[in-house]
């Protein structure tokens, strides 16, 4: 186990280095000069140069990579070109919106998908199953920004149950903040819940065909008991994979939704930063997201071991 852990840790580190090089080089070729963006149409060349010097834009590629990557290691993400504040602080603030949103959506989709998937699998071939499957087909097919638009139209403009967007901050109280995140979380969660339901169902159906379910039934367990005691946990393994993928998707995929609901999250920050050519912010956020994905996958692998004793020793 420890060996496996270490090996995974080393490969995790290598992935991060590779990712940082890719990100840095990609943004290196992005045309556009942050200094001239900041100073606008009437800026003079000497002013621009003074600003570039201050932003550290005049070094060689290698110098800049080393100073950036070195900074990352020590937790210093640099200073935003446009906001002129430490990037780490900005990301930290935004994370307090994006992370809860992603978690909220993840929890929502899990809460919907697990019961729905199990329910449909247990009633395979019935009208109930067909209904669940039909709804999930729709859920997968619906573009989430369109769904978000429709929800705003109905729930914010017409019914006025929710505000149309914005985020009052956690200081405003937990429930107020959660309420503001509700519509976006639903919009994000819907397609994810649909996918998860389908995976849960098919994984469960596969498991229900396994011999050990027959063994359990021969012991005298009812169908339901066999399902809950033996099938669900076994069916969880593919579901975990999807769940891991989804979390990273939710974290990054919120870009559009954050724009629809004008939430001050990471997604919107990165979007703004790209158009402002605030490259240091973009680099750091992409790096952070990649790190999160790799970390989540790592956690999922570790969770496998928790679910599946066969993986606890070897590999």
């Amino acid at each position: 186990m420890l060996h496996y852990f270490l090996k995974r840790l080393i490969s995790l580190g290598l992935s991060l280095v590779a990712a940082s090089v890719v990100i840095f080089l990609a943004l290196e070729v992005v045309p556009g000069d942050p200094a001239s963006y900041m100073l606008g149409l009437n800026a003079q060349e000497d002013t621009l140069n003074a600003l570039r010097q201050e932003l550290g834009l005049n070094g060689t590629i290698l110098e800049r990579y080393v100073s950036w990557a070195g900074g990352l290691l020590t937790g210093d993400f640099g200073t935003s070109y446009t906001y002129r504040t430490p990037v780490a602080g900005m990301i930290g603030d935004r994370l307090w919106v994006s992370l809860p949103l992603a978690l909220y959506a993840l929890i929502l989709s899990t809460l919907i998908a697990f019961p729905a998937g199990i329910w449909a699998a247990a009633r395979r071939g019935t009208a109930a199953d067909a209904t669940v499957m039909g709804v999930t087909q729709l859920g997968v097919a619906i573009p989430n920004f369109w769904f978000a638009m429709l929800m705003v139209l109905v729930f914010a403009i017409n019914l006025r149950w929710f505000s149309a967007g914005g985020f009052p901050g956690w200081d405003a109280g937990f429930f107020v903040a959660m309420k503001a995140l509700t519509l976006p979380a639903i919009a994000l969660a819907l397609p994810q819940a649909s996918i998860l339901t389908r995976v849960m169902r098919s994984s469960l159906l596969d498991t229900l065909n396994e011999d050990f379910i027959r063994t359990a039934r021969a012991k005298g367990l009812t169908k339901g008991q066999a399902l809950w005691r033996h099938a669900v946990r076994n069916a969880l393994i593919p579901v975990l994979t999807i769940l891991g993928l989804q979390f990273s998707f939710l974290l990054a995929g919120a870009i559009i939704i954050e724009n629809v609901f004008f939430l001050p999250g990471l997604g919107r920050l990165v979007f703004q930063s790209i158009s402002a050519r605030d490259l240091i912010v973009v680099e750091s956020i992409v790096m952070l997201l990649v790190f999160a994905v790799i970390l989540v996958n790592f956690a999922v692998d570790m969770a496998y071991a928790w679910v599946d004793p066969r993986l606890r020793r070897r590999r």
Binding site: S11, L14, S15, A18, A19, V22, A26, L27, V29, V30, P31, G32, Q137, L138, V140, A141, I142, P143, F145, W146, M149, L150, L153, I157, L245, S248, F249, L251, A252, G253, I255, I256, N259, V270, F271, I274, V282, V286, L289, V290, V293, I294, N297
Partner: protein, 276 residues
């Protein structure tokens, strides 16, 4: 024909898909109205006999826009899936030749790396470098199809490599590349077709999303995602502007997903046996 009856989802999926590919093909030669001509005076007209889906904020016929938009969506998604397959499948085949070998390790880690990047951000970065266009949308979507197909192919190929008929081919002196082509590829083809339709539908969603944030096809090329983005602020004035492109995306993606599911049922002998 009996394939069609095997699955409850195949037929509706096929019909929906045909409707939209049909619309796209017809738009190559004919659309009800020329969408490059704007008629500000008759803008935002609700659906009527003259304009079955109404007109948009510039007075263009929405039906014609949807037909041409179908072409854009389908072309972008199809080429992106093509890119994914053409690059991903050989990678997957190569990786499966020796599980845990250097090649496998490099390809799979590369895959993980691509997967680790948030896809929309990469699309944003690509368009920041090269500018927004349908071509760049294709590249951005295509890149993320590569690891999907590579993984799928590798997974399926690995299980095939342990089959006795592969051993038989090796006994017949065939090399790894030849075996991959002659034995592995045909046997993963079904899976690839099924995954292909699913990636195709995801590609259509992705194209809509990219166009929605302004990174996809540029005017005067019609695009469903941009139609949605453009009509967003008018949703309470003229809901049909957002309704029809939204429905077009929904139904096309739905159709492709149903088709994919149906094909999976029809082509997977394991499931077919279970049903008989």
């Amino acid at each position: 024909m009996s394939l069609l009856l095997h699955s409850r989802t195949l037929l509706p999926g096929l019909v929906l898909t045909l409707v939209f590919t049909g619309a796209a093909l017809i738009s190559l030669v004919w659309v009800p109205y020329d969408i490059t001509v704007l008629d500000i005076a008759s803008r935002m007209k609700p659906p009527s006999w003259v304009h079955p889906f109404g007109t948009d904020q510039f007075g263009r016929d929405i039906l014609s826009m949807i037909m041409e938009g179908a072409r854009t969506s389908i072309a972008v998604a199809l080429v992106a899936v093509g890119i994914g397959m053409v690059i991903g499948v050989p990678f997957g085949l190569a990786a499966a030749v020796r599980k845990g070998g250097l090649m496998d390790e490099v390809i799979m880690r590369g895959n993980d790396l691509v997967f680790a990047f948030p896809s929309l951000l990469i699309a944003v970065m690509i368009t920041a470098v090269f500018g927004a266009s349908a071509l760049n949308a294709i590249i951005a979507i295509g890149i993320f199809n590569i690891p999907v197909f590579a993984r799928l192919t590798r997974g399926a190929a690995l299980s095939l490599w342990s089959r006795d008929y592969i051993l038989a081919a090796r006994v017949a002196g065939k090399g790894q590349a030849r075996i991959s082509l002659e034995h592995i590829l045909p046997n993963v083809a079904n899976l690839l077709i099924v995954q292909g339709t699913i990636q195709f539908s995801l590609g259509i969603l992705a194209e809509a999303g990219l166009s929605y944030v302004g990174l996809g096809a540029q005017p005067p090329i019609a695009s469903w995602g941009r139609m949605l983005a453009d009509s967003q602020t008018m949703i309470s004035l003229a809901p049909h502007l957002a309704l029809f492109p939204g429905l077009a995306i929904l139904l096309t993606v739905l159709g492709l997903n149903l088709l994919g599911d149906g094909l999976r049922d029809a082509l997977d002998p394991k499931l077919r046996r279970a049903r008989v």
